[in-house]
Amino acid sequence: MKKMILMVLAAGLSLGTSPAFATTQAEDIAALKAYFAKKWPDVKGEDMANGAYALSEDKRINWESMRDFPPFEDQLAIGEEIWNTPFKNGNTWASCFGDDPSRVRNRFPHWNVRDKKVETLEGNIIQCQKANDEKPFKTKKGKIAYFSAWLANQANGQTINVVVPQDDPDAVAAYEAGRQFFYAKRGQLNLSCADCHVYQAGLFARGNLLSPVRGHTTHFPVWRGKWARSGGDGFGTLHRRYGGCNKQVRAKPFKAHGKEYSNLEYFHASMSNGMTINAPDYRE
């Protein structure tokens, strides 16, 4: 029944929103929690965030051996060095993010009331550099991912609580746009995010086990084996992953930290509310 409700919801959204279908953030989270609890009664609590590794014993063994010697320690050290290096103008990162690096990750994504837009951690890292006349990092990999991963790592154990102020129609609209993005069919292959990460989660696409949306954002930036094999290192931001997903369904990716992906992140991160940050992590 829940699945049917979600399907009907997706249909409404892909036809262009009908207000009759609009649900609140709290309702969406509750529906997904119930849906996955029914789908996998054996996957308990935080293990959901481990995605495929909560569902396949074989994959879990490989993943755990990978985590015994994490491949990303050197990059985390670079991330820490970035935090400790003042800008040429003498300012520090604390001028943008406050003194405590463990209190940065979990403030994002959030609604900026003044500018009426969703702010993401990586988007604000770049904004901070520009405000201090620094050359901004590239948006999807490299230093921005190392820095973001280190900040997320400092926040490990904190509970995710993305807030959508229900009394602010613009914030609600941004969340709604993100939800539409997630449920809408897209690209030449006509697939929605929800097709793989809600309805078919747990099944295999060739050797890949499709992970559930709930828990996705707890461990970003991730180190992906696939990215590491494609040259450079394996680190990438959430928006790098969005772009990759869009390309795979043969849709044109949107700009990292632009409006579309920031709104998507607002919805997407919300779906992990109540779970704890556990970053960075290894993924296939």
Partner: protein, 120 residues
């Protein structure tokens, strides 16, 4: 998967029926079937193994049903072709890409895939 169990059962019944009655298999264009298999297995073309189990394919996905007993499931080959061309017409929320409608494959490629899948 319940559906897969049902399909396996259908396959067994069909195989039994075929072997017991010795009905000669309809002659098909072997060349077209071979071409269809190639396109089906090609990741940049049909990429069918991502979701379907097909005889001869390795590390197959399980999002869609296994492609077996296709003649029993699709006595009318045109209906099979129509599903490959645009499955969303019959099942709006399907995961299956509309291969013809969105131009993922050409009409002749879909002809070949139809022959191959119908031979399974």
């Amino acid at each position: 998967m319940k559906l897969q169990d049902k399909l396996s059962a259908v396959a067994l019944v069909v195989m039994a029926a075929i072997s017991s009655t010795n009905v000669p298999m309809a002659s098909a264009d072997e060349g077209l079937i071979a071409k269809g298999k190639e396109i089906s297995f090609d990741r940049k073309k049909g990429n069918c193994l991502t979701c379907h189990q097909i005889a001869g394919g390795t590390l197959t996905g399980n999002i869609g049903p296994p492609l077996i007993a296709m003649k029993a499931r699709f006595p009318d080959k045109a209906k099979l072709r129509a599903d490959i061309w645009d499955m969303t017409k019959r099942s709006p929320h399907t995961m299956m890409p509309p291969f013809g409608k969105y131009g993922v494959l050409t009409e002749s490629e879909i002809d070949a895939i139809t022959e191959f899948v119908h031979s399974l």
